[in-house]
Symmetry: none
Subunit: 214 residues, 2 copies
């Protein structure tokens, strides 16, 4: 597993290097001190994982991430952001920029290693103290959003709702669920009753609001 380390602080850079090189399956192939150098070396050496600090001279880590892994980049690299500062702008900036990891420097060596392994694996590890905030954003919408149905929908009815919300016709829903048109219509009848919806778009709207879609 070949890793690039980019951090403007000498001590941090060598610290990371020592931690990682101590692992039998990890090798630090480059250690650079600014964003431009990080992008250059990343392109030249094609490491499995790039470990980028955010605050760096010339080009910051978030910009470098967008260049190496951002949307629209042909052959995106695996980037893990490592930073001291637990700021929401950094977190969202990094993850929207295509980073597959976000680590705070107070995380301890274990997580650093796990983050590198995860990234090399195509997975993503985010610092627990950051994750807990991300989860709030995930959990809150579900709480407020989407009035609960009068009665709970059955699993099958939810299948129908999901397809309806994606714009399928009854025919298509029937085909995709391997049932007849009549069955779909019957399910739809129950759904209308349970949700108090007047037409299929209201069903779709409910699905979007309650987070059933996406």
């Amino acid at each position: 597993m070949r890793v690039l380390v980019a951090d403007d602080q000498e001590l941090v850079r060598t610290g990371f290097q020592m931690i990682l090189d101590a692992q039998p399956d990890i090798e630090v192939v480059a250690a650079v001190a600014d964003g431009v150098a990080a992008v250059e070396q990343a392109r030249r050496l094609r490491p499995d994982v790039c470990l980028l600090d955010i605050r760096m001279p010339r080009l910051d880590g978030l910009e470098a991430t967008r260049i190496l892994a951002g949307p629209g980049v042909p052959d995106p690299m695996r980037v893990v952001i490592v930073t001291t500062f637990d700021l929401d702008e950094y977190v969202y900036g990094a993850l929207r920029g295509g980073a597959c990891g976000f680590l705070l420097k107070d995380s301890g060596p274990t997580l650093l290693i796990e983050a590198v392994r995860a990234a090399a694996n195509g997975d993503a590890l985010v610092s627990p103290s950051v994750t807990v905030r991300l989860l709030e954003h995930l959990a809150r919408p579900a709480a407020v959003r989407g009035r609960p149905p009068r009665e709970p929908l059955t699993e099958r009815e939810l299948d129908v709702v999901r397809l309806i919300a994606r714009g399928r016709t009854n025919q298509e829903v029937a085909a995709e669920l391997f049932v007849s048109l009549s069955t779909v219509k019957t399910h739809l009848g129950s759904i209308f009753a349970k949700l108090g919806a007047r037409n299929r778009v209201e069903i779709a709207a409910w699905a979007w609001e309650s987070g059933l879609i996406r």
Copy 2:
């Protein structure tokens, strides 16, 4: 750090127990085999962290989570879900149920320990392979959200789209915009053409995706 372990499989339970008890700062204070026992012991012993499997007899881990940590619970406990199955319903169910951790059983002991430490700390650790999917949901809204229409919609057409997406019929749209049914249909025709939609639900879906609604 006092931990409760709940898993219906004897081997898994003792495995977790051994891994955790090997840590100087972690002590397993209870190991139970079903959800009801988990809730009972958790309430009695008040451990710092509850490690719950999902598939358990009597009461599954997701229900137990909602009971111990769900929204509205007065003094919520720290729950980490541990499961073999990487299913989206599980992930969202757990995290919306108030879990502050989601681990796959193939994660390795390191992450298990880190997850327990994080949870005890009020943070949250999610398995990297799960995180990567959560991040897609986070990143997509900014990037992909709402493919641009072939041609831009006119202001009036957007009025129609907004009402359609809220589930109004053409009649109702006509009434609310003070125009005739024919006019609404004409606008709809243009909208269909510009968005490449096949029916009104696809129009609604586009409206939701592109943030036109809400």
